[in-house]
Symmetry: C2
């Protein structure tokens, strides 16, 4: 039985904007269903044209691009609350794939409803655009990281960013949270080899900044990581939830 938008568990989190009952009513209408995806399965396939949009209700995955020879660049980790598929709906070709890492549950929207939404619900259209801008903003940071930072800085940067995202989802307890991805995924996100990513993580552990073992990340010193990564502090605000 699909979750009703007016009873959305994500909406209760402090990190997401709240909506009026009427707006929630409309969202329920906009949502046409729910699907479950198992680990390893594709949600969106590069090149294919998906007629759907999704909001991640639960579970995590990776968004990535592949070169023809198999190299893979993870462009972002996909987490609950993320709105997926806007580019596909606007542009005609999809430039990336999304694959589930844990079991995922997604709210499904119809691509063809986007236009009506722009026409009749400018607030929601505005929110969607906000989310795309936010995603672009993140990609810019990631690009700067991969292009300019050293391996140590990159890993430190990633840990801070991931930690903050998890915290916004209320999943961090005293710097500790369980992180379902492999080191290979982090390597592919940072443009590093698996071996070097591992060795770099060991360095951070030795310095007492953070550790990652058996699926659990422990951030001992966020401030130290942030400084090491040469990144400035950002105040994360509430964001819309589609």
């Amino acid at each position: 039985m699909p979750t009703d938008c007016s009873n959305c568990p994500l909406r209760r989190l402090p990190g997401f904007e709240s909506l009026s009952p009427e707006e929630l009513e409309f969202m329920s209408h906009f949502k046409v269903g729910e699907i479950d995806v198992s680990p390893g399965q594709a949600v969106v396939i590069e090149g294919a044209k998906s007629p759907q949009l999704f909001t991640v209700l639960d579970g995590m995955g990776v968004r990535f691009r592949t070169l023809e020879d198999g190299r893979r660049q993870i462009t972002n980790f996909v987490m609950p609350g993320d709105f997926i598929g806007m580019q596909d709906a606007m542009l005609d070709d999809i430039g990336y794939s999304i694959e589930a890492t844990t079991p995922m549950t997604l709210c499904v929207f119809r691509r063809s409803d986007i236009w009506t939404l722009f026409r009749n619900h400018p607030e929601r259209a505005f929110d969607m655009t906000w989310l795309v801008c936010s995603e672009e903003h993140f990609m810019g940071s990631a690009l700067a990281t991969v292009g300019q930072r050293s391996a140590l800085e990159r890993v430190a940067w990633a840990l801070v960013v991931i930690h903050d995202r998890f915290r916004q989802l209320g999943r961090v307890d005293n710097g500790i949270f369980s992180f379902p991805f492999r080191q290979q995924d982090l390597a592919d996100a940072l443009g590093l080899s698996l071996v070097h990513t591992n060795k770099t993580l060991a360095k951070l552990r030795d310095r007492g900044l953070a550790s990652w073992a058996e699926g659990v990340v422990r951030v001992f010193d966020r401030e130290g990581l942030r400084k090491l990564a040469v990144m400035d502090e950002v105040v994360r605000k509430v964001r819309p939830l589609i």
Copy 2:
């Protein structure tokens, strides 16, 4: 005297969508002015909150992020037709700067008009969102390039992308076009050192694929560059012009 939208020189190019006279009339109204920026001057400053949006009418520049210690990542080259400032308008902090490389002329829009536009001109809001999606799409490609490709592949990739953008602006004659940037800029865009960028360009020249001297780029073999860069062909379509 500012250019009137109904007489916009960019709009005549085949790469941009055309608008009805009524729509053009509205755009003229939306546009509140025009400004000129000299080479080296900032258009948008990181951290500052600009109350304005711009469309590049003429001239070129660079969009970049800087780390506190001065390292610089160019996230895109800014060219005529580009719409600037959407993130600033949506998000509250600006994550990048834009600096003019050549003299630039920009159409100016009021940030506060965005909301009315979403409410009353859904088609234009849709176009703006399209442009943001397109920009994000590009950033994804750039990220995959910097994260996964070798120096030779990166430079080849950049030349193909740049060549195609210039072609869409009607500035390419038989693979030849004048490119106003420095090699340092390309290096900062690709996450390479200036020296290595230069040596890599020399390699491409030796292979007869492309050359870049005295501000003029010559793409002798676009197909060869594309293959070398392990990139797949993309059909570039008409895009909206705000």
